[in-house]
Symmetry: C2
Subunit: 130 residues, 2 copies
């Protein structure tokens, strides 16, 4: 039922080469080099599909468009409140917070979404200069 598609492969491959969590628009601009006729609609469709089947991750930062991540290893994200950059954090897992949340809650806690924020190294050093 799920058919192979060069476009989808290409989107996935592109995401695997990047660690900067590009937006759909950025992915589209890049894929156009290989597939000049690809449409933004196709990019969005495949990003949704890939997210559904667990091959990539969609990151809704709450600021600007969604971002996408081809790295499915468990990891957390940092969002710079100055420049908006999304950076991978290397930190130990914090799944224990699910237990804390479950305590006294009558629904079921299945997962959590966490973003850290602050200033990234680059923005910090630039503000020193000024």
């Amino acid at each position: 039922m799920l058919k192979h598609s060069r476009q989808r492969d290409s989107i996935k491959n592109f995401l695997m080469t990047r660690t900067d969590h590009p937006t759909a628009e950025t992915i589209y601009e890049n894929l156009r080099r290989e597939y000049p006729k690809i449409s933004l609609g196709t990019v969005y469709r495949n990003l949704s599909l890939l997210t559904e089947i667990g091959e990539i991750q969609t990151i809704s930062t709450g600021v600007g468009p969604d971002r996408f991540d081809g790295n499915m290893e468990p990891h957390y994200h940092f969002i710079c409140k100055q420049c908006g950059r999304v950076i991978d954090l290397e930190m130990q897992g914090i799944d224990h917070i699910n237990l804390l949340a479950q305590h006294g809650f009558s629904g079921t806690i299945e997962s959590h979404t966490v973003f850290f924020s602050g200033r990234c190294e680059k923005c910090l050093s630039e503000s020193k200069i000024k």
Copy 2:
């Protein structure tokens, strides 16, 4: 410089009476009873402003429109992946995760955003019935 406005007061007051994290649209529909001429633009403008000055919280769930919370006591949210409801959790603080994130990271971790998800009590009991 920041002028008083009945509309803004009313938005804040409305949010304080609710614990269900309404959307801008819901706030708008309700405020129209008191201010039949209020515009959605004004609602959005004031929600942004109130968020900026720290009187309310904006919750971007990543699904559907943003939601707003008048409760500024530190607390966490649960989002039901079935019905989308946003529920306050009564759990201990988890600020220690900022330290875990900071370890080995060259920017500054100032804060975190956390949502828990799963099924709420209501959705669980409804699925039992079926």
